[in-house]
């Protein structure tokens, strides 16, 4: 359902969307059923002249089963949902597949800095490419990102990847994604971080291998003699 609003552009986006659909149908069934029963009861037992309400305590077993069985069924549904939720969570957040490339993401009031390791594939070397509010990644490549904050809490979110992780000052948080669809997408900050929170958007460019190589070659700062200080976040 979400995919109709927003493309799936990472290797795990469909998992979250499927989980959403699972919960939607399970929960939707219960919701429609209870509302239907609810409105039917209101209609069926509306006040009519000469008809007195029944005296039902609900303490008898034969009466109570009408709420006991549904509630056991809810428990069964819960188990399915828990299973689905934990599986997806494990795959995305707990499990960290080996990286093909590591990038660094630095949040500050109110901009993102993205550090690409450059041609040598290693961070903290002179050929790192630091870009503000602009992230270039290569499609079908497993990226690790390390999140750092210079001041307050931020949250790194790429909706098309279904990716979200808070950025905490004083901590370096690692996560991963594999882009699967080329294009240019939004990056958001979803944790309030002050006055400029609403402006703290960035763009992610998912590129093919050739495009990405060209971008790296074009932007690598070694030739620009920026080798003196590795960028940012060395506090």
């Amino acid at each position: 359902m979400i995919e109709s609003l927003l493309p799936q552009a990472s290797s795990y986006a469909h998992r979250i969307d499927n989980l959403f659909s699972l919960i939607f149908w399970v929960v939707g069934f219960w919701f429609v059923l209870s509302e239907a029963v609810f409105f039917w009861l209101i209609f069926r037992f509306r006040k009519r002249d000469g008809v007195r309400a029944q005296y039902i305590t609900g303490e008898l077993k034969s009466e109570k089963k009408w709420i006991t069985y549904p509630h056991l069924l809810v428990l069964v549904c819960d188990i399915f949902i828990i299973y689905g939720a934990i599986t997806v969570w494990y795959q995305i957040k707990q499990d960290l597949p080996p990286a093909q490339q590591t990038i660094r993401v630095i949040g500050q009031q109110w901009a993102w800095t993205f550090v690409d390791p450059g041609p040598d594939g290693k961070l903290d070397t002179p050929d790192d490419i630091a870009k503000v509010n602009e992230l270039h990644v290569q499609v079908d490549r497993l990226y690790h990102f390390t999140l750092e904050s210079k001041d307050v809490l931020h949250s790194f979110s790429v909706p098309v990847f279904r990716l979200k992780q808070d950025v905490i000052p004083g901590r370096v948080i690692t996560g991963w994604f594999t882009p699967t669809k080329t294009g240019e997408y939004d990056i958001q900050c979803v944790e309030i971080c002050g006055i400029g929170h609403g402006l703290m958007g960035a763009r992610i460019h998912v590129e093919t291998q050739e495009q990405h190589a060209a971008w790296v070659a074009q932007n690598s700062p070694v030739s620009v003699a920026a080798a003196s200080a590795p960028p940012a976040a060395q506090e």
């Binding site: 609810f38 209101i42 037992f45 029944q54 934990i86 969570w89 004083g170 309030i192 402006l199």
Partner: protein, 567 residues
């Protein structure tokens, strides 16, 4: 009204002071639980107008970015942050809490359990005075240099702890002080409610003869008292961080911002149930009266309340799934969060089952109560998406969350309040409200309400995230802007209908037809007192002979059987 806090007696008490206290003493300096309830109720409703106006200002900005909002002006980014922060904080702490917990608890507990007042009337008065002080501090925080606090009602440090980050050093501290004062007020109130309900029941009233709403308020007060402590400790620590220069939550000097999140949400989640339970209790009273039915499985309701209460202490970290907590903890909290759906679902089933075999009259209070169930179900089922950790990766801090908790808080704070006010209005003021106007107001509130928040669910599913003053900065969200426009239009329609309620309320207050003692033919004890009850409630305190929900008992001529009737 500020002077009401001063302790000087009314100057014009005069010779009548013995029988009839002066206006000031009677309405501003009273220890009578009913007057204090009214104070809470009116303060809460006034704050609801403030917070409602705030929502109008920022919803206009969201639908039509950069517009000069009529009656407000330009919504700049920092004003936007202040507006959303205080809208949230006011609606939770200064509307839902005072109206549902303090207002109805003060009014109903002594009347429903058959005693003359709260056990500690002076503590009760002090509680309101501190609460009122907290209102003043909060209002003052909007106008101090730098402006009101804009770091969201969760007030996460380091944004909230350092003036150089939030740019509202004074506003942030005053906001925190206001919240802390409010907690102190409700701790006093809570102790009073619980002690009164436990100790002062009328002779003959057994545990299972207590009306559900009193049980709910007691459990809510207990939840509040048991959960607010860590946040009070946290507020002290945050206040020191802001003003003394300590570093409890400052990661650059050895503190930890995640600690605050735990302290906050350890309170924050039970807080949802603190306001939910009174509303759900009010609903129970109303649907039994207007369907002339005994509550289905009274004891089961109590068990579900206890289950909800205990479980609510074990779920708080689902607010922090992607906040950098240990990912393994998320699994534990997913399980507990989904388990809490079981007692809540059962409670809803009980209410639906109560309608079976009834004789349902759709009077205004009943419409509100039924709407509470219908709308709260949406809030409940959408919570499952957010409690499931895997789906929450995507939904965290989107408008889906926002729509979800508005589908819980709106039924609680607004629908629950309207249900309670329209139901107990005859008792509170001795006059009847106009039913036709009440129904117009009902439909004019409920239908637009769904038009506000259902589009926001879709907007959130499309990636719309919270606390952004202008979504046109995000190219992916521009096509979804139409949902924001629909939501704002819904809000405007809803606001247009609210003066009808105010008109009905105040007109009925002075001009409404006189109410008899028991206009709804209800069983509970408050309906055996005069309308409105005098100081002391009854000339002779009642004795109780049976449970509160003995409607349509076979073999009796009347279809109700008051709790205090010997036979």
């Amino acid at each position: 009204m500020a002077e009401s806090i001063q302790a000087h007696p009314h100057p014009h008490g005069g010779p009548h002071a013995h029988e009839e206290p002066g206006f000031f003493r009677k309405y501003f300096y009273s220890t009578d639980h009913k007057i204090i309830a009214m104070q809470y109720l009116f303060t809460g409703m006034a704050m609801a107008l403030v917070a409602g106006f705030m929502s109008y200002a920022f919803r206009m900005q969201l639908a039509f970015p950069g517009m000069h909002v009529p009656l407000y002006g330009l919504v700049t980014p920092n004003r936007y942050n202040t507006l959303v922060t205080n809208h949230g904080a006011i609606m939770v702490f200064w509307v839902a809490m005072p109206v549902l917990l303090a207002g109805f608890a003060n009014y109903l507990i002594p009347l429903m359990i058959g005693c003359d007042d709260m056990v500690f009337p002076k503590l009760n008065r002090l509680s309101y005075q501190i609460f009122f002080l907290s209102v003043l501090v909060l209002i003052a925080s909007f106008v101090v240099p730098g402006g009101g606090f804009g770091g969201a009602w969760t007030s996460y440090p380091p944004l909230s702890s350092r003036g150089s980050f939030s740019l509202t050093p004074l506003g942030a501290s005053m906001w925190l002080v206001a919240v802390a004062l409010e907690f102190v007020a409700f701790l006093m109130g809570g102790i009073n409610f619980v002690t009164t309900a436990m100790n002062s029941r009328a002779p003959g009233m057994r545990m299972y003869d207590v009306p559900i709403v009193v049980w709910m308020i007691v459990v809510a007060s207990i939840l509040f008292m048991a959960s607010v402590g860590p946040l009070i400790a946290g507020a002290i620590m945050l206040f020191m961080d802001q003003n003394v220069g300590t570093a409890f939550f400052d990661p650059t000097r050895g503190g930890d911002p995640i600690l605050w999140q735990h302290l906050f949400w350890f309170f924050g989640h039970p807080e949802v149930y603190v306001v939910l339970l009174p509303a759900i209790g009010i609903t129970a009273e109303i649907i039994t009266v207007f369907s002339r039915k005994k509550l289905f499985a009274y004891k089961t309701v109590l068990y579900t309340v206890f289950g909800t209460g205990v479980l609510s202490f074990t779920v708080w970290a689902h607010h922090q799934f992607i906040a950098g907590i240990d990912p393994r903890m998320a699994n534990v909290f997913t399980i507990t969060t989904l388990l809490i759906s079981i007692p809540i679902a059962e409670m809803m089933f009980v209410y639906i089952a109560t309608l079976y075999g009834g004789s349902i009259t759709l009077a205004t209070p009943m419409l509100w109560a039924l709407a509470f169930i219908a709308e709260f179900l949406i809030g409940g089922v959408t919570g499952i998406f957010l409690g499931a950790s895997g789906a929450d990766i995507y939904f965290h801090d989107t408008y889906f969350v926002l729509a979800h908790f508005h589908y819980t808080f709106y039924p609680i704070a607004i629908i629950g309040t309207f249900a309670g006010v329209t139901y107990w209005f005859p008792k509170m003021f001795g006059r009847m409200m106009n039913d036709t106007l009440g129904k117009i107001h009902f439909w004019g509130t409920i239908i637009p309400f769904n038009f506000i928040f259902i589009p926001l669910f879709i907007f959130g599913m499309g990636g719309g995230h919270r606390r952004i003053y202008d979504f046109t900065n995000f190219p992916e969200l521009v096509p979804l802007q139409k949902y924001n426009v629909i939501a704002t239009c819904g809000l405007l329609v809803m606001l247009v209908f609210q003066p009808i309620f105010l008109f009905n309320f105040f007109r009925s207050l002075f001009r409404g037809p006189k109410a008899e003692k028991n206009p709804w033919k209800a069983n509970t004890l408050e309906w055996t007192a005069e309308s409105p009850p005098p100081h002391g409630n009854w000339p002779e305190l009642p004795t109780v002979y049976r449970g509160p929900y003995e409607y349509s008992v076979p073999g009796r001529e009347l279809d109700y059987w008051p709790q205090n009737a010997p036979n």
